[in-house]
């Protein structure tokens, strides 16, 4: 017997292995539907971040002649984690609306839908890793470091913990206020330039630099860069990212508890 107005979201009784299998099938579905098992699909997954990096390289290195060492490496190492985050969160924001029939007709744990988007983009990032490593080697003569074997998985885990709460919170908010999905898109475009992505933070005037340092996205992206470019992890940036992930995680969980039961009527 449960209260009809229980503080529990649908599908709460499912076990973890069950959820893991469901997540796996949902992600595989998306990848299959998008690429239809063609090899070219793999190439498309990489094309977008590379195209962006190339455009910025042309604009800043070739036309504006910015004096930055290893600018192409700087761009590439930030671009792929960024695309994972922004595409994942933007897609997740719409996930409840797109999967309305699942939300309304099946007692599915709703939180798994935005997680699917995050996981899907994580797979794309995984596809890109060998290409990033090859690019670093040939264009920058940075040899793969043995320490990457634990550093990269650790950062992937950190990034999932960082991105998923954002994805879940925006997805919930979007069920209530439909314009959120557009605002999230615009927000990531703005944040791309507010975060030192195409310029190093050393180019920011010193008076403003502390403000840029407060940006958790910068700490996350800088963590990726220091692993790829130097094989090191900066404890400060890691700790900042982890604390931010923990706080947003708590907020997203509270929001989920409170808002998820109603979205069956909203989507």
């Amino acid at each position: 017997m449960t209260e009809a107005r229980a503080e529990r979201a649908p599908g709460a009784e499912r076990s973890l292995p069950q959820l893991a299998e469901l997540l796996y099938l949902l992600v595989r579905k998306e990848l299959k539907v998008r690429y239809k098992n063609r090899f070219l699909g793999y190439v498309w997954a990489l094309a977008n971040p590379f195209a962006f990096a190339f455009v910025y390289w042309i604009a800043f290195k070739f036309i504006m002649r910015l004096e930055i060492e290893n600018y192409s490496l700087f761009l590439i190492t930030g671009m792929f984690p960024w695309v994972w985050m922004s595409v994942g969160v933007t897609g997740a924001t719409r996930s409840f609306i797109i999967n309305a029939s699942l939300i309304r007709k099946v007692n599915l744990p709703r939180a798994i839908l935005p997680l699917g988007n995050v996981a899907q983009e994580m797979v794309h990032f995984g596809f890109a890793l060998p290409v990033i490593v090859a690019f670093l080697w040939f264009a920058g003569e940075i040899r793969p470091e043995p320490s990457w074997l634990w550093q990269i998985p650790a950062l992937i885990a950190l990034q999932v913990a960082f991105v998923y709460p954002l994805a879940l919170a925006f997805a919930l908010a979007n069920a209530y206020v439909r314009d959120i999905e557009y605002l999230v898109g615009i927000g990531f475009s703005l944040m791309f330039f507010a975060t030192p992505m195409v310029y190093p933070i050393t180019l920011v005037p010193e008076a403003y630099r502390p403000w840029f340092e407060l940006n958790p996205l910068h700490a996350l992206m800088q963590s990726w860069r220091s692993v790829f470019l130097h094989g090191t992890m900066e404890p400060g940036h890691l700790a900042f990212t982890a604390v931010f992930a923990l706080l947003t995680g708590i907020i997203a969980w509270l929001l989920y508890r409170r808002l998820a039961p109603r979205i069956g009527e909203l989507v």
């Binding site: 017997m1 449960t2 209260e3 009809a4 107005r5 229980a6 649908p10 599908g11 499912r14 292995p17 069950q18 299998e21 469901l22 099938l25 949902l26 579905k29 299959k32 539907v33 239809k36 029939s101 699942l102 939300i103 309304r104 007709k105 099946v106 007692n107 599915l108 069920a175 209530y176 206020v177 439909r178 314009d179 605002l183 039961p261 109603r262 069956g264 009527e265 909203l266």
Partner: protein, 256 residues
């Protein structure tokens, strides 16, 4: 002995709120509430019990709250007051194949939909042969779902549900799919399901069907239980009432 499905004093009202835009949030103005279809209760004081292994029918006119009732039992929508209890694994046929994807093959959809319904992969693999056989799709099961006819999709959906290992099936108006022969096969499978101790809760407009399948039932009108008891009697009285009902009353309903 506990019942398979219990529902006590269930109330539900759909709020007038709609997904709002940012403009509304910022300016604090909202369009005047649309009261044309306003009705206080979607469900009012609904209560019934279904023992294990029984089949229960819910009938009523459009907008009387049948689907709302199933959604609350399933947990996708929340009631406002009252208690619901389901004793066992629940699978819904609120919509056959919610979660099917047209670009995936029939067999890939079996795995995806099975998992959505809560089955483990090992169990799906184990029952795959039976699912494929029941669906009578044969070679077509490896074709993309978008090439299927509506009847084929429904057959596949039903085949998965019946093998899903659920103890309680909530069925909303979906048995009227497939040709007469396949319908007969579905009814046979549902009888077997009940013989194994499974419980059925069926929403339907097909009085002949509910009378055939269900032992007991209720009739809803504007969210209230207006009749309850053995299904044949409930269905017969409902049909009498519908025959004399004044058509104007339809205007006061809120559809959902």
């Amino acid at each position: 002995m506990t019942s398979a499905v219990t529902c006590e004093g269930l109330w539900k009202t759909y709020q007038r709120h709609r997904p709002v835009g940012v403009k509304t949030l910022l300016l604090g103005t909202s369009p005047p509430a649309d009261t044309r279809f306003a009705r206080e209760w979607a469900l009012a004081e609904v209560g019934f019990q279904v023992p294990h292994g029984r089949s229960f029918g819910v009938i009523g006119a459009n907008g009387s709250g049948k689907t709302t009732l199933l959604s609350i039992l399933l947990g996708t929508v929340q009631g406002d007051r009252g208690r619901v209890g389901l004793n066992g694994n629940v699978a819904s046929l609120l919509e056959l194949g919610a979660g099917f994807h047209g670009d995936l093959s029939g067999s890939e959809n079996v795995f995806l939909y099975g998992s959505i319904l809560g089955m483990r992969l090992a169990a799906i693999r184990q029952r795959f042969e039976q699912i494929a056989e029941f669906s009578e799709l044969e070679g077509a099961i490896e074709q993309p779902l978008r090439t299927y006819s509506a009847g084929m999709v429904a057959r596949l959906g039903f085949s998965i549900i019946i093998q899903s290992g659920a103890d309680i099936l909530l069925i909303d108006e979906v048995l009227a799919v497939g040709d007469a022969r396949f319908q007969a096969k579905c009814h046979g499978a549902l009888r077997e399901f009940r013989a194994r101790g499974g419980t059925l809760l069926i929403v339907s407009h097909n009085m002949k069907e509910v009378t055939e399948v269900c032992d007991e039932g209720i009739c809803l009108d504007l969210g209230r239980v207006v009749d309850a008891g053995p299904m044949a009697g409930v269905a017969a009285r409902y049909q009498e009432r519908m025959a004399v009902a004044e058509p104007a009353r339809g205007a006061s309903r809120a559809g959902r």
